[in-house]
C-alpha cells in the first residue's frame, strides 16, 4: 500500500492529509510552514533536500520567560539597545536546506539583518534590530518554520568556555617558520662560493635559528610532553623517537652554526614539525567529522515509540525526542533519555550505565535515567531532557572521542614503534662506534644524522589516516563501527555466527496465518496489549498486524526469555509463546515458526509465521563460506531446517533451540579452541553473545533494541554487503603494512646517507616531507580505491 509522504517533513500522511498548492502535507503545521516559505520566495528550501522540514510545535506560553530582562541579558552576545546578537542552538539543523533557510531569515522578517549557521555545532547566530523584533519574537518565528531552538539557561552561565585553537596557532606558526626558513636556507643549498654569500652566511643562519626557537618550544610542545609521559610509564610510544629527533636536530643545528661547521638542519626541523602538526590537524578534523556525523545523521538508526496527545503511537527517531514527550518503552528496550515514570511497573537494568546487573524497581513519579534497560513490561514515561546522542555514544564506547584520540589507534603502530626506537638507537650506536675508529671527526655527525633521518612520522601517520578514512567510508555506507580497533579485529576473524530471527530473516516481510478457535473481542484486546509489551521480533510482527486501537493496561505482565509472554487482565490470563509454554502438548511436530495462544489455560490456536529471508542471503553465504566457518544459532525450532539447508552452503552448521546462554557458551567454547568469532545478531537476546564474540555486529532495522555490547551496527539494507566490509577491513591492514614498507624504504635510503656521513641539509629537507606526504597520499588513495565496490 503506497503511503503518501508529506512534502514538508516526509512523514506519512495516511490519516490526516492536507492538500495545498497541489502538494500533500501531513498536517496544518507543515502546510503553514510551506505557505510561509512560498510567500517569501523561499521555496528553494525544498530543492536541496527532500522533505527537509519538521512540523512546528505547539508552544503556547513556552517562551514567556524570554520577556524577562535579566534572562535576555544572559542570553545575548551583544546588545547596544538597537542591535542585538544571539546564538541559538537548533537541534533540527541537519542538511543544506536548513543552512539555506536559516541564513535567509531576513526574507521572512526584515528586522533580521544577518544570520550565520555553524553546521557542526548546530547553532545560528542572528543579528537583528531589537527595536522591531524582540528575542521572544525571534524564537517564535524560528519555531513557526519548524526550527525551534533549544534554550537552556544552565548552558548559558557556563558557556564562556574558550574553543581550543592552540593546534591551529601552533600549526600556523610552524608553517610560517617553515616557509621563511626554507627561503633563508636556499643560498646554502647551492654551495656557490661567492664572496657575498660568505659574508652574510651568519646573518642567514642566525635568522633561521630565531625562527626555529618558537617552533621547537611552542609548536612541538605536545610531542615532548607525550614522550615524557610515555617514558615515565616505561612505554616507548611513537612520540619518543619524534621528540628525540626534534631535540637532536635542534641541538646539532645550533652547534653547527655556532662553530661554523655547516648550515644546520633548521629547514628539516621546521618542516618536520609542520608536517606532523598537519597530520594531527587532519586527524582532528576527521574525528570531529566522525563524531559529528555520528551525532546528527541518526547514527544509531533507532526509533522510539512516542505517544501522541490523542493516544496514537508514532515511531520517531531518537534525536527527535523532546522534553515533555510521552514515550512508550517496552520490555527490553533502552530508555534513551532522562524521564519520569508515569505508568507501568518499571524494573530497570542499569548495568550498561553502572555495571550493576540487579534491576532497580521504580514507581510512578520516579526519575529514570537514560541508558537503563526496562525489564518486565511496558512503561510510559515523560521526557525530561532531549536525547544527547553523545551520551548514548559514551554509553557505547567511552574512550573513542576524547582528546587523546591517537591512543586508540596505536595497536599496530605501537608495536612497531617499540622496535623502531630501539633499532634506530642500535644502528646509531653501531655506526658511531665504526666511525670512531675510522675517522672520529665524523662520529658525532653520524650519530645525530641517524637520529634525524630515521623519520617516524610516516609510521605515526599510516595507521590513523588509513583507519580514519575507512571508518568514515564505512559510516557513509551505513556500517557504523565503534572504533578503529574493530577494523583490526574484523580482519582476523575465521568464524562467522548468525542469529536467525531478525538477523537473516526480515521482519517486515513476514506473513502470518492464524489457525484455531477464534478469539473473542476481549481476548483479542488482551492479546494485543500483551504483545505490545514485548520486543521479540515475532511479537512485534504480530502486533503490527493487529488493529492498534484500544490498548488496555494489563494487571500483570511477564516475559520468559526463550519461551513466551503472559499477561493478565481482570480475570483473564493469556499466554503467548511456544507450544509447551502455553500448555499445548498434543502437537509434537510443530516445525514451523509458530506462536501459540492460550487463554486461562485453554488452548486457542496458533499464529504461523512464514519466514522471509533477507535478499542476497545465499550469495552472501556462498561468498563467506570460502574463507570462514559458518554457523547459524537460532532460538527457534527446527522448522526452517529444510529451507535453510537449501539456501545455505553444505558445511554450514545449523543449531536450533538455542537459548541465549547456549549461544554464549557456544561462542566461548569455540574461542577456547582458537576461533576468532564474528557474531551477527539483532541485539535482543544476543547481547551476551555479541559481547563475548571478538566482533559483535547488531543488525538494525530501525528498532530501539541495540545493545551497547555490540561493536558495530549494520543497517539492515546493507546486510548483503557484509562480505565486502570484512574483506575491505582485511585489505586495509595490508595497506598499512605496505605503507610501513614504503616508509622503511625511505628510512633505509636516508640511513644509508646518514651512516656514510654524507647527510646534507638539502637531502634531509627533501626526504622527510616527501616520505610523510607519500605515505598520506598512498593510504588515502588506496583506501578510497578498495572501497569502490561498496554500493
Amino acid at each position: 500500500m503506497e503511503q503518501k509522504k508529506c512534502f514538508h517533513c516526509g512523514l506519512s500522511t495516511k490519516d490526516s492529509e492536507v492538500i495545498f498548492d497541489d502538494k500533500s502535507f501531513c498536517c496544518n503545521g507543515c502546510k503553514t510552514v510551506y505557505e510561509i516559505f512560498s510567500k517569501n520566495d523561499l521555496t528553494c528550501y525544498y530543492d536541496m533536500q527532500q522533505a527537509p522540514g519538521s512540523t512546528p510545535k505547539e508552544i503556547e506560553g513556552k517562551y514567556n520567560f524570554l520577556e524577562n530582562d535579566k534572562i535576555i541579558e544572559k542570553l545575548l552576545e551583544f546588545n547596544d539597545g538597537k542591535t542585538q546578537i544571539v546564538t541559538l542552538y537548533i537541534p533540527h539543523i541537519h542538511c543544506s536546506s536548513c543552512i539555506w533557510v536559516l541564513e535567509n531569515l531576513n526574507k521572512i522578517h526584515p528586522a533580521i539583518s544577518a544570520s550565520i549557521v555553524n553546521f557542526g555545532k548546530k547553532n545560528v547566530r542572528v543579528t537583528y534590530n531589537s527595536e522591531l523584533l524582540s528575542i521572544k519574537d525571534l524564537v517564535l518565528l524560528l519555531n513557526s518554520i519548524g526550527y525551534e531552538p533549544f534554550i537552556s539557561l544552565d548552558d548559558y552561565s557556563t558557556r564562556k568556555n574558550h574553543i581550543d585553537r592552540s593546534l591551529i596557532y601552533k600549526l600556523g606558526f610552524a608553517g610560517f617558520a617553515f616557509g621563511n626558513v626554507m627561503f633563508l636556507s636556499f643560498p646554502e643549498y647551492f654551495e656557490v662560493n661567492e664572496y657575498w654569500l660568505e659574508q652574510y652566511k651568519p646573518v642567514f643562519r642566525w635568522l633561521m635559528f630565531t625562527y626555529s626557537i618558537p617552533v621547537v618550544f611552542y609548536s612541538a610542545q605536545e610531542y615532548f610532553i607525550s614522550a615524557y609521559k610515555g617514558l615515565r610509564s616505561k612505554m616507548l610510544n611513537i612520540d619518543v623517537p619524534i621528540a628525540l629527533g626534534i631535540i637532536v636536530l635542534f641541538l646539532r643545528s645550533t652547534a653547527e652554526i655556532i662553530f661554523d661547521l655547516g648550515a644546520g638542519f633548521f629547514d628539516s626541523l621546521t618542516g618536520l614539525v609542520f608536517f606532523l602538526l598537519l597530520g594531527r590537524f587532519f586527524q582532528q578534523k576527521t574525528y570531529s567529522f566522525l563524531s559529528f556525523e555520528r551525532d546528527y545523521k541518526s547514527y544509531f538508526p533507532i526509533g522510539i515509540t512516542k505517544i501522541l496527545s490523542d493516544g496514537r503511537e508514532e515511531s520517531i527517531q531518537v534525536y527527535d525526542i523532546e522534553k515533555g514527550d510521552r514515550l512508550l518503552i517496552r520490555n527490553e528496550e533502552l530508555i534513551p533519555v532522562d524521564s519520569i515514570l508515569i505508568k507501568g511497573n518499571a524494573h530497570i537494568d542499569y548495568s550498561f550505565v553502572t555495571g550493576e546487573s540487579k534491576p532497580v524497581s521504580k514507581s510512578s513519579g520516579d526519575k529514570l535515567f537514560a541508558g537503563g534497560k526496562q525489564l518486565d513490561g511496558t512503561i510510559e514515561v515523560d521526557v525530561l531532557k532531549s536525547v544527547e546522542q553523545s551520551y548514548l555514544t559514551q554509553l557505547w564506547s567511552n574512550d573513542v572521542f576524547k582528546t587523546d584520540k591517537a591512543e586508540s589507534f596505536t595497536t599496530i603502530t605501537n608495536s612497531i614503534s617499540k622496535y623502531f626506537t630501539v633499532v634506530i638507537l642500535i644502528i646509531a650506536t653501531l655506526a658511531t662506534t665504526y666511525w670512531l675508529f675510522e675517522d672520529s671527526s665524523k662520529a658525532l655527525n653520524v650519530f645525530t644524522a641517524v637520529l634525524i633521518i630515521a623519520c617516524p612520522c610516516a609510521l605515526a601517520l599510516s595507521a590513523p589516516f588509513t583507519f580514519g578514512n575507512i571508518l568514515r567510508i564505512f559510516g557513509t555506507k551505513k556500517f557504523y563501527l565503534k572504533n578503529a580497533n574493530i577494523i583490526e579485529q574484523l580482519a582476523k576473524i575465521n568464524t562467522v555466527i548468525f542469529d536467525k530471527t531478525g538477523t537473516i530473516t526480515a521482519n517486515k516481510n513476514t506473513t502470518v496465518n492464524y489457525e484455531g478457535i477464534e478469539l473473542s473481542v476481549d481476548e483479542e484486546l488482551i492479546l494485543k496489549s500483551t504483545l505490545r509489551g514485548s520486543n521479540h521480533p515475532l511479537s512485534r510482527a504480530l502486533y503490527d498486524l493487529l488493529n492498534k486501537n484500544d490498548i488496555i493496561s494489563l494487571d500483570n505482565y511477564n516475559e520468559f526469555l526463550g519461551e513466551g509472554i503472559e499477561g493478565t487482565y481482570k480475570d483473564t490470563q493469556i499466554k503467548i509463546g511456544s507450544a509447551p509454554f502455553v500448555g499445548y502438548t498434543s502437537e509434537i511436530n510443530a516445525l514451523n515458526t509458530a506462536v501459540h495462544v492460550s487463554t486461562n489455560n485453554t488452548y486457542k490456536g496458533k499464529f504461523t509465521f512464514y519466514n522471509a529471508y533477507r535478499k542476497g542471503l545465499s550469495k552472501l553465504f556462498n561468498k563467506l563460506k570460502k574463507q570462514y566457518d559458518l554457523v547459524i544459532l537460532s532460538g527457534d525450532n527446527e522448522g526452517e531446517k529444510e529451507n535453510l539447508t537449501k539456501l545455505l552452503p553444505p558445511k554450514t552448521k545449523l543449531l536450533f533451540n538455542q537459548k541465549p546462554e547456549d549461544k554464549l557458551e557456544y561462542i566461548k567454547y569455540h574461542q577456547s579452541e582458537g576461533a576468532n568469532v564474528l557474531m551477527i545478531g539483532d541485539g535482543l537476546n544476543d547481547a551476551g553473545a555479541l559481547a563475548q564474540s571478538n566482533v559483535g555486529i547488531a543488525i538494525s532495522e530501525n528498532v530501539n533494541v541495540f545493545s551497547p555490547a555490540c561493536d558495530a551496527i549494520l543497517d539492515a539494507s546493507k546486510f548483503s554487503q557484509l562480505y565486502d566490509f570484512v574483506n575491505i577491513s582485511k585489505t586495509s591492514l595490508k595497506i598499512i603494512k605496505w605503507s610501513f614498507v614504503l616508509s622503511f624504504i625511505y628510512n633505509i635510503i636516508g640511513l644509508w646517507f646518514a651512516i656514510s656521513g654524507q647527510l646534507s641539509p638539502v637531502f634531509a629537507a627533501i626526504l622527510m616531507p616527501l616520505s610523510s606526504i607519500s605515505v598520506v597520499v598512498f593510504t588515502t588513495l588506496s583506501t578510497n580505491m578498495i572501497s569502490r565496490k561498496l554500493k
Binding site: D41, H109, I163
Partner: protein
C-alpha cells in the same frame, strides 16, 4: 651588497604583518567552522526581485 640587510628586514616585516593577520583571523573564529562555508558556497545567488509586499508575518499583525 649591504642592501641585503635592508631586504631581509623588509621581508621579515612583511612576513610578520601577515602572521599577525593570521593570528587575528584565528582569534575572530575564522577556522572554527570549516564545514559550513563549503556548503554555503554552493547556494545560488538569487535575482533581486522588486517585492513591495511585506512578509506574511507582519501581515498577521
Amino acid at each position: 651588497m649591504s642592501v641585503i640587510y635592508f631586504m631581509l628586514a623588509a621581508s621579515a616585516i612583511v612576513a610578520v604583518v601577515f602572521f599577525v593577520a593570521f593570528i587575528v583571523a584565528v582569534k575572530s573564529g575564522l577556522y572554527d567552522d570549516s564545514y559550513t562555508p563549503s556548503v554555503r558556497m554552493l547556494f545560488e545567488d538569487e535575482l533581486v526581485k522588486e517585492k513591495s509586499d511585506k512578509s506574511i508575518l507582519t501581515k498577521k499583525d
